[in-house]
Symmetry: C2
Subunit: 360 residues, 2 copies
């Protein structure tokens, strides 16, 4: 059936155009009933693994693992890859939450914090000597600030013994993060992959595994979804506990379709839409861009300041079945957030901007 509303919310968001086709295949094949220890499940898991490796250029050495959410992965990274000290680049609500997770489980957590809407200049970053982890957020969903890929790569190059983690929750598979350089990265499927929520994807290299094994000898790395167990199971296209089979299946189908279209094509389309969005709001009366520096503006989540209360803007667009997001946290009323995910077609972006032109 045709979808009545168009979602530009920063996730959950508009579903991938072929979502219903893939879902129908899942149902028709009765995959909701198969054992997660069956050959049929392993085949599904292997397909998703292979398609993600192709799409994101994941090295053969790395493991691709599934969890309940990206937030769960924060805790797993902390428990499996750190013992004492962590360092967090904080410039929004999600990078801050990872930092607070580190404090909650008793790590001595350092942060370098920027006001919301600002990104990091590489030269300003001073990594604490004893930090075992450098947490970077490639795309801050709350503020629409991105960190250039080259800066993330440089951080690892200049801190080879520290684990560099990359939050790609709302940007994967768009950014060109070199997964053979960084140690671990993670994302959710309800953002740029255009799927219903309920799965986190965790990519990690052998250095992360070594750390987990070393820490495990001295203390505890937890009991559920430990890295060594997730890793070993993933090598057999299995999971330690019963996973969200439907999400793993759908993700494989979406990734396959993205590979067919070609990642470069997807990136180009996203960038063209982003350019159109930012150019429009730069000039539009009553609105301005939430992120001043062009190189820090997210390609996938546009954050826009609004002089009218965001609730008013959102309500007017909702009348036209166009659903956008409010600002996050303290910026709830002063900002709007517009997802520019792969599932949002260029025509949808035009429809949205035409509505802005008509309404405001």
């Amino acid at each position: 059936m045709s979808r009545e509303k168009i979602f530009f919310t920063p996730g959950p968001s508009e579903l991938y155009p072929k979502f219903e086709e893939f879902l129908k295949d899942f149902v028709d094949n009765q995959f909701g009933s198969i054992s997660h220890r069956s050959a049929a499940f392993k085949k599904i898991c292997q397909h998703t693994d292979e398609q993600l490796r192709e799409l994101l250029a994941i090295p053969a050495e790395n493991a691709v693992m599934f969890t309940g959410s990206a937030s769960e992965i924060w805790e797993r990274i902390l428990m499996n890859c750190t013992e004492l000290e962590t360092f967090h680049l904080v410039n929004g609500s999600f990078s801050k939450k990872f930092y607070s997770y580190a404090q909650s489980i008793g790590r001595h957590a350092h942060k370098f914090e920027k006001p919301m809407g600002e990104g990091f200049s590489y030269s300003e970053i001073k990594v604490p000597e004893y930090a075992e982890l450098i947490s970077t957020t490639q795309n801050e969903t709350s503020t629409g600030v991105q960190m250039p890929e080259a800066d993330i790569h440089k951080l690892k190059k200049n801190n080879p013994k520290k684990i560099v983690s990359v939050d790609m929750v709302s940007s994967a598979p768009i950014p060109d993060i070199d997964l053979s350089l960084v140690d671990t990265a993670y994302f959710s499927i309800q953002k740029s992959f255009g799927l219903p929520a309920g799965l986190g994807v965790w990519i990690a290299n052998e250095y992360c595994l070594e750390r987990a094994e070393a820490i495990n000898k001295k203390g505890s790395i937890g009991s559920h979804h430990t890295l060594p167990e997730l890793w070993a199971q993933s090598r057999a296209f299995q999971t330690p506990s019963t996973p969200n089979v439907m999400a793993i299946y759908l993700l494989g189908r979406v990734a396959e379709d993205m590979n067919r279209r070609g990642r470069a094509t997807l990136q180009k389309e996203v960038d063209q839409k982003a350019k159109k969005l930012y150019s429009y709001f730069e000039k539009k009366d009553g609105f301005s861009l939430g992120v001043a520096k062009p190189e820090h503006r997210s390609r996938t989540v546009a954050v826009i300041n609004t002089e009218r209360a965001s609730s008013e803007v959102i309500a007017a667009l909702k009348e036209k079945n166009l659903i956008i997001g409010a600002g996050y946290g303290p910026n709830k009323e002063s900002q709007i957030r517009i997802a520019n995910f792969i599932a949002n077609t260029p025509e949808q972006i035009d429809t949205l901007l035409n509505a802005f032109e008509e309404l405001f």
Copy 2:
């Protein structure tokens, strides 16, 4: 479309008869795109909460919380409700895994272990003095052994200061566990609720919350899905991180349908089917019951010894599109497991037994 295969696997298993109808409603309403902070999501979450409270007679005092899986709940109970010592009634692979989780996170874990296929006599259970948690498994999915509800209630009555947890993963909503007596219980949705996997449901009382808050003052209760945070969010029909919205929605619809049919009716139907299954295999040449004592035989997962290799039995039935489970772990080849969930209609059980009669 009509389903080709009938699943009697002990979960994931046969889907609830109305699964496709409920899924269509989810898709048609575009619930896969809604924000988990929206009023629409809260309404879904509230509906599921209310239907589960009615179905399972959950006291108003208790919280109903959602996680990625039941295994995740094991770790959350250990981290939030225990500090030093735990006690586990172990009589199969899943109760043993909970015990090993406790060891992995550094608890002094005690166990009282029975051979696979045997249950516990209440009088034999000696609870260690300093154990903070008594872990019971109402239904051991690996062995088909159940623990009578009255024994679980008695354990709490005689150990009022200890947290009594009940694994109902593959039996809820069938057993009459009094949730105003025990402290915490949990289940998965891919068993008796007949849904695709990817959601754990955690029920806990205020005593669990008090323990978590007390432990949190002295040490760490973890960072992700802590009980106080899950609890607070659940009171507002919210979740700390983006949940499996589809599963929460489908669970609410299934629970509502179960309430319409009436839990007593469902219990009666399950018991009649169980009686038929056990009577058949008790007399059938080449097969015998995996659980000797009638009071310990699971109502929802029948475990049957087989003289032929289970792989041979499973393959022959598969030819007829009837899918049953192998024995678990060491009993893989010597046992078969047959789910007797709510989604398995009396007609399906007849079809299965007729096939046994024809084939063996």
